[in-house]
């Protein structure tokens, strides 16, 4: 845990104690880091979310927390291989619009225990309620189901029913792993709370930028903006590497 995160946690706890007069609960949260750089030595990174529920009244209600991280959305084509004359060929396909390149949903206990499936669907809580922009995943659509399974296998879709830990009845913490193959772009981190299984109209949302920096950024931008020069440079590099080896290893 970094020092800044620890300070933020202490601050949040203090804030939660100092706001007793409010009628309804309030949610205070922070994320760290606020920006992720993919540099030459990037190989995955954790996003840490800290939060506190302030303004709780006695008797205290039972709180549940759901943390959702949504990566930049993409339009995808999912193709299915079918056997044609003994060979497996891409045949039928389905285009899926606005699928997050990364989606992680964490809660403090299994979603089925938190609220009814109607509430979960309405509040868009849980992986399958959150993949598409406007509807839940259709359990009868093999393309959608296989997309989700493939993404879960790659670590790009994560559902973690015990990813949020309470360290007091009103303060919590979650760690969300951003995988090594994470896409660059604008991510959104959301925290939603439920009290006794009912959603509270108080959410936290924060933007998180994932950017290539340093060498990876330089390579990508030059490969697109100066593609001819890039190609010539690669060619030159290859020729000089070949020349260098043949000179260095010359026998006489």
């Amino acid at each position: 845990m970094s020092a800044s995160v620890r300070i933020a946690a202490a601050l949040l706890t203090t804030l939660a104690v100092l706001c007793p007069s409010a009628r309804a609960e309030r949610l205070i949260a922070t994320i760290a880091p606020s920006k992720i750089s993919i540099s030459a030595n990037y190989s995955g990174r954790d996003i840490v979310v800290f939060g506190a529920i302030a303004g709780t009244e006695k008797p205290q209600r039972n709180y549940d927390v759901v943390v959702t991280v949504v990566g930049p959305r993409q339009d995808l084509i999912v193709r299915r291989k079918e056997r044609v004359w003994g060979i497996w060929v891409n045949r039928s396909s389905s285009i899926l619009i606005g699928v997050p390149s990364y989606l992680a949903v964490s809660a403090n206990r299994p979603f089925g225990n938190i609220a009814s499936s109607e509430i979960l669907r309405y509040q868009r809580l849980g992986l399958k309620n959150r993949v598409f922009l406007d509807q839940a995943v259709d359990p009868d659509d093999p393309f959608q189901i296989n997309l989700i399974n493939a993404r879960i296998q790659e670590g790009l879709f994560v559902e973690e029913p015990r990813g949020v830990t309470f360290f007091s009845p009103t303060t919590f913490r979650a760690e969300i792993p951003l995988p090594k193959s994470a896409q660059t772009g604008n991510y959104k981190v959301e925290v939603q709370i439920l009290a006794d299984g009912r959603p509270i109209d108080e959410t936290f949302s924060s933007a998180l930028d994932v950017e290539k920096t340093g060498l990876p950024e330089f390579v990508v931008t030059s490969s697109i903006n100066h593609s001819l020069l890039y190609g010539l440079a690669m060619m030159g590099l290859a020729l000089s590497a070949g020349w260098f080896a043949s000179v260095a290893f010359r026998r006489n």
Binding site: Y42, K81, L147, S181, M234, A245
Partner: protein, 309 residues
Amino acid sequence: MPVYLPIADFPVDIFLLLALGLAVGFVSGMFGVGGGFLMTPLLIFLGVSPAVAVATVATHITASSFSGTLSYWRRRAVDFEMAAALLAGGLIGTWSGIWVFTTLYSVGQLDLMLSFSFLILLTAVGGLMLMESVRSMARVRRNKPSLVSRSAGAHYWLHGLPLKFRFRRSKIYISVIPVFGIGCVIAVMGVIMGIGGGFLLVPILIYFLRVPSAMVVGTAAMLTTATMALATVMHAVTSHLVDAVLATILMMGGVVGAQFGAHAAQKMPPERLRFLLGFLILAVGFRFGYELVSPPEHLYTIRVLGSGS
């Protein structure tokens, strides 16, 4: 130690890549081929997308085949006129290969096309090479002359074609039309499949054009260098998929491995080398064939069309 590949979009251990470059470089130096037929499938196996693998391997082959070309050139074992004639066809082949590559990529059948052409090409070439080398090993044992004789009167329909030219280094007098055509076909396949085509060019030059075997490997390496250098630039301009970091690391291992391979090859009789190469090619070919007919691990494949609305 992981290093992030900026265009392949994920990190890979740098030592794994160096070892891969070294091993493939050793094979390419030993047999005088580019080694793309090994490198491209291996990169795909590592998780690099086929399109990025094909585009990046072109750079790697440029390096290792140029290293080979230079050492053959010092031994005066490169037929420049032959290489130039092959290259003239190669230019057209590279250009049309890039076009086919981009079309297949957008239609979504690049993966199938790759597996299919690898299968046919590798099993055919590997099988032929294996058979031929076994036969000549038997001949050597019985102290008989090699199968490819250059005796007078070894003429066939090829020698009836017009536009004849005397290739002085190779000491052959043939039409430039087949030379041009071979260069073109090899380049198309090289660009589409991410292979230099050296393993194809060598047997074609020996058995079809009757180029003396002393000249073949150097000339093939020269042509491979030229077409793959061109392919690097064209892939960079049209698809932007050449990963500079991946290519650089592979190259570093590759050029060193190629030199060791070339030294190792000098201690081995040529027919045994061809036997080993044929065996290797055949094995890779069978692997592709197995992939096509066996039920795939992932029935569904996902491709990103663009950033979402």
